[in-house]
């Protein structure tokens, strides 16, 4: 389309003019706003900019926009060839989507040692490294230790627990330490701590499942089916979403909705609401992003975090990374690449972690932070031992797959459609999206 080329030419021309007239070019980095990621990025940028051998035109300038609609805006900006930033945020689940507008980079030599392979993979697409992994996200099982301890010490309570689990799960169960939970224990615990099922329960709800029609909520859910062996596709590329594993997990969660073990409004909950529910003290346990650790522990001091419950196939947690990559239309590619390479060194990673970021670091490196950031040791540990990425979750349409799943599965949980319909729809969508 020659019109478009004309426009592109126009933009390029303007950009050239702008670049020529500006005395100092800079490296503009578009980061993830409003959280510990921002604070940490600012801290490491200060360190980088203070380096004596850094040329003035390669100094880093940070840009933060709105959290709401961040990825929508990024999509429009990248697709239109924006030169407003040289480096931008990417996430594992969207690399495939943005890769056509970005350039692969080479990391520092230490990167492999500092981060470990699993973590570096979260920033790879099509065999290429598209970014530096700055933050790792995975899920914890948060639970109220005071409640679970009290339960395990009280025989009458244990009897009630067995009674409830027999009634709804078909067998008498005994309360266990959450670190050893299987998903059935999770469900049994949730049922016990729900007032509408057990009037003596100290909390109103046993758990809270964030079930808003939102793609991120699917990520939270995925450890459940995965631990039963589920996957998006098999190795040959056939869609395997309609499987016993997925169905079992979905049905178990549905039971919690039906029996009222999660707040009735949780079909509209996402991160903020679920945390508010847990913080109010009316929820006994929940699976949530690791980023919530500080807030939840501040609100409920008896909170302990551990890995999500296990299933027959093992213990799993979904992981994905946030990172920074290179914009194909960047004005100052050299300066940007230099910054990104430095970011992948141990010096940068440790500084980032010390300033509040949550990078996934390999054993040796993270051991250096054991005193200041013990939670990072936990994150690194879980990432390497339990972390998983579904087949196809880094593909170009990965986000759309998550969205389609969110729509169908939350519909099933909310009761707007039955499981078979949901499965039929999602299998069709995924076949279309992942072909």
């Amino acid at each position: 389309m020659s019109y478009m080329t004309l426009l592109r030419g126009g933009v390029a021309g303007l950009a050239l003019l702008a670049a020529a007239s500006v005395a100092q070019a800079e490296v503009t980095v578009l980061g993830w706003p409003g959280g510990p990621e921002e604070t940490a990025l600012r801290a490491v940028t200060d360190i980088y900019n203070a380096k004596p051998d850094l040329a003035a035109e390669n100094k880093v300038d940070l840009l933060f926009t709105s959290r709401d609609g961040f990825f929508d805006k990024l999509q429009v900006d990248l697709a239109a060839g924006s030169t407003a930033f040289d480096v931008n945020l990417i996430a594992t689940y969207s690399i495939g989507k943005y890769a056509p507008f970005m350039e692969p980079i080479t990391l520092s030599d230490e990167a492999g040692r500092v981060f470990g392979d699993t973590v570096l993979k979260t920033m790879q697409f099509d065999g290429q490294q598209y970014g530096v992994p700055t933050d790792l996200s995975l899920h914890f099982l948060y639970f109220r230790k005071d409640l679970t301890d009290a339960l395990m010490a009280d025989d009458a309570a244990k009897a009630k627990y067995a009674e409830i689990s027999e009634k709804h799960l078909g067998k008498k169960m005994e309360p266990k330490a959450p670190e050893d939970w299987m998903w059935e224990d999770f469900v049994a615990n949730a049922l016990y701590f729900t007032q509408s099922i057990n009037p003596d329960s100290p909390t109103r709800y046993g758990t809270v499942i964030q079930a808003k029609n939102l793609l991120f909520n699917m990520m939270v859910f995925h450890s459940w089916p995965r631990s039963y062996g589920a996957n998006w596709t098999d190795d040959a590329g056939n869609i395997t979403v309609d499987s016993e594993a997925f169905r079992t997990a979905l049905k178990m969660a549905k039971m919690l909705f039906e029996l009222g073990a999660t707040p009735p409004d949780s079909t509209s909950y996402e991160y903020a609401e679920a945390n508010a529910a847990y913080s109010s003290g009316q929820v006994a346990a929940m699976v949530q992003w690791n980023a919530a650790a500080a807030d939840l522990t501040k609100a409920q001091a008896a909170t302990v975090s551990t890995a999500p419950p296990a299933g027959p196939d093992g213990k799993f947690t979904h992981i994905h990374g946030l990172g920074l990559g290179l914009n194909k239309a960047a004005k100052n590619k050299e300066g940007a690449t230099a910054f990104l390479t430095w970011l992948s060194t141990e010096e940068a990673a440790l500084a980032y972690a010390r300033a509040g970021g949550a990078p996934g670091l390999a054993g040796e490196t993270v051991a250096k932070l054991a005193a200041e950031r013990p939670d990072l040791v936990q994150v690194g540990d879980y990432a390497s031992n339990y972390g998983f990425v579904m087949n196809g979750a880094t593909s170009q349409n990965a986000l759309s797959v998550y969205e389609a799943q969110a729509k169908e599965f939350t519909g099933y949980w909310a009761g707007t459609q039955d499981l078979d319909t949901a499965m039929k729809n999602i299998a069709a969508s995924m076949t279309e999206l992942l072909k």
């Binding site: 600012r42 959290r67 239109a80 980023a291 807030d295």
Partner: protein, 275 residues
């Protein structure tokens, strides 16, 4: 009579309370500390604090509420006044001469029904090419488009209310078209112009989506800037701060609306009826 008035007061009280409930709740929340927000969900604030407002009103490294307010003001002014300037002449022509009335009028009015977001990409490219990206003018132009339908509608109706004889009399006195429009018709439309301005300003001020897509740093309006304040550690919404920023963000159009409300009611009926 007294009892009937009393009942009317009651109805007013209930209606005002119910419709304004979210606003009330937000104002109340703005005075709650973070701990209290999760602890105390009632409308009575136990330990009121001005911390949230202090945070919102201080200029920090990244958050500068005065910058956003200024951007919104500039863009909203353009977005409210420009459509009036552009639509007035043709509104007159549509009423008095039926110019383009059958096609252009419905076309413009219908723009109101269209989610303009579909034009995001071409607009972005266009703006990038002419350097309007991330500028108050650029945003203002688009807000003007958003306000065009209602502006045209209200102006057409206001002009239709003016008796044609008045204009004929002026013509007979030898007035030329330009003078006629500016000296006679325009002043008679004043109530409608004020209404249009107020509605246009409020609508322009409240636009979020295009404010997000078309600005990055220099021209970020208040609606987008407000969301900068929302997130805290890990991305949870800190309701106290969010509430405070919503209150501050809503003040300018609110003040404008409350000052001008008398004028609005004055001309809305004239503006709306003829359609």
């Amino acid at each position: 009579m007294k009892r009937r008035m009393g009942l009317r007061w009651l109805v007013f009280g209930v209606a005002a309370f119910v419709m304004n409930f979210p606003v009330l709740a937000t104002v109340v929340t703005a005075f709650k500390s973070p701990g209290e927000v999760t602890r105390n969900a009632s409308l009575w604030v136990e330990a009121p604090t001005l911390d949230n407002f202090a945070l919102v009103l201080t200029i920090s490294d990244r958050l500068n509420i005065y910058h956003y307010l200024y951007n919104s003001l500039a863009a909203a002014l353009i977005g409210a006044v420009l459509p009036m300037i552009v639509a007035f002449p043709i509104a007159w022509a549509m009423v008095r001469r039926g110019l383009f009335r059958q096609v252009l009028f419905p076309l413009v009015v219908n723009l109101r029904a269209l989610p303009l977001i579909i034009f995001a990409i071409p607009l972005y490219l266009m703006y990038a090419a002419v350097g309007l990206l991330d500028t108050r003018l650029g945003l203002g132009l688009l807000l003007a488009v958003v306000n065009l339908p209602l502006t045209l509608m209200l102006l057409v109706n206001a002009i239709a209310e003016i008796p044609a004889e008045l204009e004929e009399a002026a013509r007979m006195d030898g007035a030329r078209l330009g003078t006629l429009l500016i000296r006679l018709v325009l002043p008679l439309c004043r109530p409608a112009l004020i209404t249009t301005f107020v509605f246009g300003f409020i609508t322009a001020w409240n636009e979020f989506l295009f404010g997000l897509m078309l600005t990055t740093r220099d021209a970020v309006p208040m609606t987008v800037g407000a969301s900068f304040f929302f997130a805290t550690s890990g991305g949870g919404v800190q309701w106290g701060v969010a509430a405070a920023v919503m209150v501050v963000a809503a003040l300018p159009p609110l003040i404008l609306g409350l000052i001008m409300y008398r004028r609005i009611s004055g001309s809305m009926v004239a503006g709306a009826v003829k359609g």
